[in-house]
């Protein structure tokens, strides 16, 4: 498990331990990765993040067209693997969780402990926002450092 922000690590690790999920991706609604578990290649993470963010954006737009509130979660059930996508609010804005799990667990367990993780993240999130600079000079170095932090290389 790797997280860009240290306060995310403990709630995420608890979720990993309790849910037995195989792959987990936490990202912003724009597809920026915050933390990941189980992925071994950066290209897989970037692809999954982009697709996950796009799916959530599509379902939120669908909800808007239907005149209803955003959907709490989207579950794709499969024979071998299933996938859950859920967006949630944090003090750092809306985030998306993408969870891939197998037959060793169930969608009920994953949803239960995912909701618990969200509650813990909301409590653990630092109240002050980090200063944002639009593409600083060190952007490339910071991006490489983030990728290294996420994949350990």
């Amino acid at each position: 498990m790797r997280a860009l922000e240290p306060w995310v690590a403990a709630p995420l690790q608890t979720f990993i331990d309790e849910s037995s999920a195989r792959l987990i991706l936490l990202m912003t609604t724009s597809g920026q990765v915050v933390a990941q578990h189980g992925f071994s290649r950066s290209v897989e993470v970037m692809t999954a993040a982009a697709l996950g963010a796009a799916i959530v954006a599509s379902t939120e737009e669908l909800a808007r067209v239907m005149g209803t509130q955003r959907f709490a979660a989207l579950v794709h059930g499969g024979n071998r693997l299933s996938c859950m996508l859920s967006s949630f609010g944090t003090p750092r804005g809306r985030w998306i969780g993408l969870v891939v799990f197998g037959s060793e667990t169930s969608v009920g367990i994953v949803q239960l402990f995912f909701d618990q993780m969200v509650e813990e993240l909301v409590i653990a999130a630092p109240k002050e926002q980090p200063q944002r600079q639009p593409l600083p000079e060190t952007f490339e170095d910071e991006l490489n450092a983030s990728l290294k932090e996420l994949f350990g290389r």
Binding site: T105, S106, V107, G108, I109, Q111, L112
Partner: protein
């Protein structure tokens, strides 16, 4: 054959039963529930389904048949589960002084008659 609501009603009428649920065993999701306030049906469904699934695997691994009734006893009460046909599991939450024998009979009877 009886509908789910009737099955849940029969079980919750037993003294000391705080609520009952019909859950999907593979998904751990609530199909129908009849619970007292303050009981988190979603959590019970997810955890009871996981328990039944694991016990099923354990008994299969030991070369035995799948359990027909599960009784998880704690210091503050019990969780009872009766796997039915297909994927459904009837679950009940009981207090420490509940009539567990009667609850067991009612649950096994109800789960065998579920429509």
């Amino acid at each position: 054959m009886i509908p789910a609501d009737t099955a849940l009603e029969r079980v919750t009428q037993v003294p000391g039963i705080k609520g009952s649920l019909l859950i999907s065993g593979s998904d751990g999701l609530v199909v129908a529930e009849r619970l007292m306030d303050g009981i988190d049906g979603r959590a019970i469904a997810a955890l009871a389904a996981s328990l039944v699934q694991r016990l099923d695997r354990a008994t299969n691994g030991a070369g035995m048949r799948a359990p027909t009734f599960v009784h998880l006893r704690g210091t503050g009460g019990s969780v009872l589960a009766a796997p039915g046909r297909g994927d459904l599991v009837l679950v009940a939450v009981a207090t420490v002084d509940a009539n567990l024998g009667l609850a067991r009979v009612k649950m096994l009877d109800a789960v065998s008659q579920l429509a």
